[in-house]
Symmetry: D2
Subunit: 344 residues, 4 copies
């Protein structure tokens, strides 16, 4: 049984970790921390957990966390880097759902997150937690910086094209649509139902923190720096990310893209290449760890359109973190992640 | 392994059965029927099932169904009664999610469903499928008419009061709120998102088919015919039923109702009596088989208010049917039903 | 042209006043105040107002407000009572959308609002702003405490029955459903879309601030203190209140209730008695000042069900305030309030 | 007073025409037709119209329509072309909200609509009803084929760039998001709230009927055939279209785009160029005829992003049709279209 600690369990990725781990047959949550909710049972804050957990929030304590096999950080950026060095030294493995260990270029990270990084050396040792790309490194890693939600949907969609050198890497466009849980559980007027429902808007068009993370990942796939326009949009729904990815074929005589995608992802348990002509709906992955993808070449022109759908809280966060944990602890990768998406 | 057949798998209770049974460790769906979708893989119609089922819809065939241990009917009323006699004769056990076998008074059934009942004798042998009330009879039953969605929420809420003789049985009020899946998956202008979302309405105030079913159940608990006003309302959400139940204390010096409810349901795996002062949210049971209940005596007056929340597709339909199946086949009652509700 | 001042224009009732007054042919907003947003154009905060207003928020200033003919308070309770005495003295007329001047029993008010009332004398002079009940007093009033949202829907629904002495006044039940704007525009985790959408819950069952206001109004209609159980529920939609009202006929031989309601409200421009058998939808009044009502006697029993639907921000707040203003300034009562509800 | 006839008043653009014309001071609806609803008062079908219209649906009759000054067709494609020739001959002016008269290339139209066009000569005389582009032709026109919803949002967004020759016309991308009313009011399982809410999907990526219409319009602006990838997406909301438009600057040293857009649309009553850095929300135009636009050059790269938001039922359909009528009848263009968007 893997002993699990969770730092920062009061946000949406925290409660989603608890939901997924409640029925995980090989892991058990031993500690969950929250400064503000000390002593409160998790099931008081999240009544869906009633009957599933007796656990209460405790103040973060390194000794208690160090007794775990793995510690998940479900915290805003800046928190994981403040606690990671001591835990790493004590041999604990860390899975950070936040952004502290995703970007290798420290200066770039500091610019986008407007914060000094306090353990740049650990960043270099950290493994980027996107299992489809980094499975082997994750297996051996002690510190994983899990891929973000938008970055997961975008990278999985572009990857077969970039790794096969089929598209112009200088002009990639990712038009992304996210449900409101992407904004977190903070009290925020803009995310009130009366404000965000029944409306659609873009945000962060001039620049968004996921841009450098995505560019880093795509550049790795392309073997050189890519050009990317990233346009996130807020959707009036709770969960889900839909990425609509545009790129231009280098050679107008393209290979059979459907077959290429299917073969590329044939062995991936959590990437589902849909039949030709499909349009994945985000609800088809709601609550599940699946990423569903389809590829189109509209009107036979040279602009390709890849559609990629995930649940931002599962494959885009907590499910991916559990998948990473399974890999790290040599468990079957799908353990505890076999939920069928809830539809309707 | 319990061999399962499903008749009518294209509606919401059908796909929900498939979702729940996909990970049931002791049951396997062998046959699923739909005249209109013959030959179509279930995962083509419901993409959330991709990777979980290879099964395709077949035309209903008694021989194939008779090879199953149990057949679920997830069909509109009238279908189950047309096939039940032959299956019963061949020894199959039947769990009807529809209304054909719920009401003992045939004349009453025929009046409300505007249809002649074709096997009234089977109705008398059928067991009403509300496990909290009828567990032992279900265990031995061959034909179960599962409780409806509204009836489940209302009966579980009123039951401790009625069985303890605490309230005036002549003036019960059930103000019920249901998500749109309660209306089924038929093409229907009134249920288009553009029509039903962002609005609330009552419907069926003059009379609704669940009225006689609820009255039958409550009358059984009270030991005499009850008077009930039942007011269903359509809620702009996908899943969930919230019943707000009003009744009048017979004796103004009431017992400790909180304690009474807690003790009454102490051993029930799927009834959760919330702490005093609570207001259960339907989202706290979304996707789970739980019924959450709280009891209030506002302002110390003699009108009681019981709040009861279920997921209409789980405890109100397919989850309850699986719970019934578990009981019938001597499996632990919670087998395959331990999902944590999805929140948010 | 009526010169209008608005105190507290950053909440939902404030922006709704601005929307309604933008096209009012006989009134013009001259001042709008907000301490926190001083200097910000209203159209920067509410982009729907772009092109309709040049106005910017200013710090509340009695001299500027006193230059108006009428001042609306769209503020939390406690604000209006702090500014009203000085404005009243300077001859300004006041329309308070909040709760400071609604309840005549000061002690009761102080208990429910947990605050000392600073101008109890003004409360006695204030007129309760429900035009259908108090039209003449409003016409002459200097200080109007507008009826709240739930109280408007409930009182208009029960009124024909109570004033005609048809129902048992001791056992009234109001099961009310409100959209999320009823909770205001404050940053509040419980009202995030990720929390409040796709779910239904009751709240305030033990006691809610609108209870004493409604009881006061209904008792006035009944000519004696009524007994009322008031159960508010939160609906996953932006706007709308639906009140489902239960009462018991005194005499089982009831008069023709449909006709009684139609005649009772025949001359009211903003009360629409729907045809017999109807179920008003809240969307049928979205954005309009109408209250739609229907009356039912289910199954011919003696429990009556009245359904009453309003837009909580219009007839339940800002539209009602404009209607009150029209009456006070001898304008046709429907001036500026003839919008057709937006449907779909 | 302009005498108005409406053919096909039972869909969403029909009821929206009725909503807008109810308070239009210079036009009155005299006839509204529907074969299926003959004799039914419009206010029975759409209760928001109660008190605003006495009108009932009648069977389409050329004589009655010919007595009108203008006839709106709010019908599926194919209907307007079947009735237009006779009405045109009798001197009636026609505003078609459908697609019959939008596309000049008959062969292209027939391919996309899979129908033979029965009056190709009228197509050549018809004026494309996008007032910002075609105001003078509309004024004189007898037959107007109003611009579609997606085409309006996309054309208004790209126009300042194309007419100024600033962008590469061969690689335009329009990623468009539409509310569910865009799919019409037909009974359709895919548009049930239980199916379309809480989810996002693309559709019609291989090809969508609005593609040729948009290309025709953009090509006119560019002065040569453009290349366009058009990707429509279904949003879980009732109203609104958000177009996210991508294009590549020809010259990396761009002019001041903000100023260029502001000057371009300075005199347009229904195009609002938002301040630099803005992200228009669809709710800011809900129920209004406004198109709000912002222009971005993310990260100073050469890919531009234009954001364009309209209400698909107003500026994308019925409001635009009323604007067209105002122009045709020499009324001030904003007559009856001054509604403030409903927000929240």
């Amino acid at each position: 049984m893997v002993k699990v600690g969770i730092v920062g369990g009061t946000g949406y990725t925290g409660v989603e970790l608890l939901r997924l781990l409640a029925n995980h047959p090989r892991a058990r949550v031993e500690v969950i921390t929250s400064r503000s909710e000390e002593g409160i049972p998790v099931a008081d804050m999240f009544p869906n957990l009633r009957g599933h957990y007796d656990l209460a929030f405790t103040v973060p304590d390194v000794d208690r966390l160090a007794a775990c096999d793995v510690v998940f950080f479900a915290t805003p950026h800046g928190v994981a880097m403040s606690m990671a060095p001591e835990l790493i030294e004590r041999g604990v493995r860390i899975i950070d759902l936040g952004a502290d260990f995703r970007i290798k270029d420290i200066e770039l990270w500091e610019k986008w997150y407007n914060l000094e990084h306090t353990c740049p050396d650990l960043v270099q040792k950290a493994v980027y937690g996107l299992p489809e790309v980094n499975r082997e490194a994750i297996r051996e890693g002690q510190l994983i910086g899990c891929a973000g939600c938008y970055p997961t949907a975008v990278q999985l969609g572009f990857r077969p094209l970039l790794e096969n050198g089929l598209i112009d890497h200088r002009r990639l466009i990712a038009d992304c649509k996210s449900g409101v849980t992407g904004a977190g559980r903070g009290a925020n007027v803009a995310m009130l139902q009366a404000e965000s429902s029944e409306s659609v808007k873009a945000y962060g068009i001039p620049g968004h923190r996921h841009l450098p993370e995505i560019k880093q990942g795509l550049s790795g796939m392309a073997g050189r720096p890519v050009g990317l326009t990233f346009a996130p949009h807020l959707m009036p729904m709770i969960r889900g990310i839909h990425a609509t990815l545009y790129s231009v074929l280098k050679d107008p005589v393209a290979p059979d893209l459907q077959r290429l995608f299917e073969e590329f992802y044939r062995d991936e348990p959590f990437v589902d290449v849909m039949p030709a002509g499909s349009h994945p709906e985000t609800r088809s992955v709601k609550g599940s760890n699946m990423c569903r993808i389809s590829v189109h070449q509209p009107q036979g022109e040279d602009t390709l359109v890849v559609l990629s759908a995930i649940d931002n809280l599962v494959k885009g966060a907590s499910g991916q973190a559990v998948q990473v944990m399974n890999i790290m602890f040599d468990l079957p990768e799908t353990t505890g992640l076999e939920q069928v998406a809830m539809m309707p």
